[in-house]
């Protein structure tokens, strides 16, 4: 089961891990922004960006292929982007008649499709690196420093705390159902469809109720152990000279990528 999927943080010690989380957030966002404004088909710039990613992978002691191996997340969305190949702009390359619709792939569309894919694939890798090198509470802390509304960061902090508890709860419900989803040989099993949906719905209700009542109990358990509205961590969060240096350097690299992308 995928409970362990929750903490994507990887216990390695590296220069990147020790950077101030704010720097990492800013650089990540800048990198993704930069990908978004690179023109279609600027392959050289994309390649440069990827090189940058490889360097970060290596500096974080995660291994060169770390973020690459996890970037399959975008795969399902490729289906959506495939339709870009049939863009009305550009010169037609072929004509496929499927009976109910005629598809015309164009050169513009093809470039567009691969550009979208590459941008997405690069951006996702950067986000993966951010999470792999920063503990989530530190990340939330960084967002607080970056002036996100307090209500929101607190909600997110609680969401994170309870994520383990409640997803576990959901998994337990699923597992309980699974364990008794029995059948007899030669007999129709599973009950009526309407009953099955009702069971799933009740499980959602059950989950809600458990969450709600447990929220009371755990919140009180937190209060009982001195919680006053601030989650504390053992990390000081001070910007050092190295942090500033990395920030400036990274922004220059990103500017360089833009340079490569726009010079034709």
């Amino acid at each position: 089961m995928h409970i362990n999927a929750f903490d994507r943080f990887h216990f390695h010690d590296s220069f990147i891990h020790r950077l101030d989380p704010r720097i990492k957030v800013v650089v990540t966002v800048a990198f993704i922004l930069s990908n978004a404004i690179l023109p279609d088909g600027s392959w050289l710039a994309f390649a440069t960006a990827w090189l940058g990613l490889l360097v970060v992978n290596d500096l974080s002691n995660l291994g060169l292929g770390y973020s690459f191996k996890r970037s399959y997340i975008i795969l399902p969305f490729i289906l959506v982007a495939i339709t870009a190949i049939f863009s009305p702009l550009g010169n037609p390359l072929a004509e496929w008649d499927l009976g109910f619709v005629t598809l015309i792939p164009t050169d513009f569309g093809l470039v567009r499709f691969f550009s979208v894919l590459t941008r997405s694939w690069l951006s996702v890798q950067m986000a993966i690196l951010l999470v792999a090198t920063t503990q989530f509470p530190d990340l939330i802390h960084a967002f607080e420093h970056l002036r996100l509304p307090r209500v929101l960061t607190t909600i997110i902090a609680f969401l994170y705390r309870y994520l383990f508890v409640l997803t576990n709860e959901a998994l337990r419900l699923l597992r309980a159902r699974e364990a008794r989803s029995a059948g007899l040989p030669g007999q129709k099993r599973g009950g009526k469809l309407i009953w099955r949906t009702k069971v799933t719905g009740s499980m959602a209700g059950q989950l809600f109720l458990r969450s709600y009542e447990r929220s009371d109990r755990i919140y009180n358990a937190m209060l009982a152990r001195g919680y006053t509205g601030h989650l504390r961590t053992l990390n000081p969060h001070k910007m050092t000279r190295a942090d500033w240096l990395v920030l400036i350097l990274s922004l220059f690299v990103i500017l360089f990528i833009q340079f490569v992308g726009w010079v034709r």
Binding site: L130, T167, T197, S202, L209
Partner: protein, 313 residues
């Protein structure tokens, strides 16, 4: 895989900058309003509750149910959150959910997060709560039926909006993406509706105190009814138009220069990506790019700052 991305979580790179920023702006405004509203109506103690509700939505999205043909739909929860917690709190909860999904699981991108929050949190809250609000106080069965309908419609509207955004970014062809997305989500929406209804019925039976109190105390005013009905109508009207006559819509957008803007010209202000003074050189293009970036970042900061001011007042 349990945590496979929902078809509505757009990753980075699939929307162009203009579309991303427009929806970021809309989302920032709505979320800003929601924070100030909830700060007024809910006490400090409710914040942890919202966090837990967000975790609940997150966890409930794992309760998958079989849809036809081996795929399984999964729960969005936006409508349920808005109905149970009230629209503003619902928006905050869904914002937190989408943000954590993007941050922790890369399920949905960062630059497109505004659009994702808008689709899955704001539209669903407006439709889900707006329609439900019309029948608060009526008999139980009517309420459940309307809740189910609004959950279905909210899912469809989210799917429609996602398709439109993809199309405006010229990532997808309207003629293909709208029917596909709406088709899949018509089924997923049924699951969403059934789960929403069953969960509400369960809460109604076990802890009716939660539903009544929550709905009346923190709900929005009549404005929500109007907004809910309007947005629903809009969704109902656009869907057939978009799926029935996509070429027409596409041509209109083409004539307006929309598609081209979408595909490769993020800065209309800087014609042809060159800086007029410098003439048409590579340097000029680069400077245009840099200036554009700064303007955008500045805009974002400005929006954020204004919102924070509004909240303080």
């Amino acid at each position: 895989m349990l945590l496979a991305p929902a078809p509505l979580h757009i990753p980075d790179g699939f929307l162009n900058l203009v579309v991303s920023l427009i929806f970021w702006a809309a989302t920032v405004i709505m979320v800003g309003l929601a924070t100030s509203k909830t700060n007024q109506t809910l006490g400090e103690k409710q914040v942890p509750l919202m966090g837990i509700m967000a975790a609940f939505i997150f966890a409930a999205q794992m309760l998958n149910f079989p849809v036809a043909g081996g795929t399984s739909g999964h729960f969005l929860g936006g409508a349920l959150a808005a109905i149970v917690l009230g629209p503003w709190a619902g928006i905050l909860v869904m914002t937190a959910v989408v943000a954590v999904q993007a941050l922790l699981f890369q399920d949905g991108g960062l630059l497109v997060m505004g659009a994702n929050i808008f689709n899955m949190g704001i539209i669903t809250a407006v439709i889900g709560f707006g329609l439900y609000r019309t029948v608060i106080g009526r008999n139980k069965n009517i309420r459940l039926i309307v809740a189910g309908m609004s959950a279905w419609l909210a899912t469809m509207a989210a799917a429609l909006l996602t398709s439109l955004q993809l199309w405006l970014s010229s990532t997808s062809r309207l003629a293909l993406v709208v029917p596909a997305m709406l088709g899949v989500h018509a089924l997923i929406g049924i699951g969403e509706a059934l789960i929403t209804v069953a969960a509400l019925a369960f809460i109604q039976e076990t802890r009716p105190d939660l539903l009544d109190k929550e709905a009346t105390a923190s709900s929005g005013g009549r404005g929500w009814i109007v907004a809910g009905i309007l947005v629903s109508l809009l969704a109902v009207l656009i869907s057939p138009l978009a799926s029935g006559n996509p070429d027409g819509l596409e041509r209109v957008a083409d004539d307006l220069g929309f598609l081209e803007t979408g595909s490769s010209k993020p800065f209309e202000i800087l014609p042809d990506y060159t800086f007029p003074v410098l003439g048409d050189t590579a340097i000029s293009t680069i400077i245009a790019g840099v200036v554009g970036t700064f303007i955008l970042v500045g805009l974002l900061i400005l929006i954020g700052r204004n919102l924070r001011k509004n909240r303080k007042q």
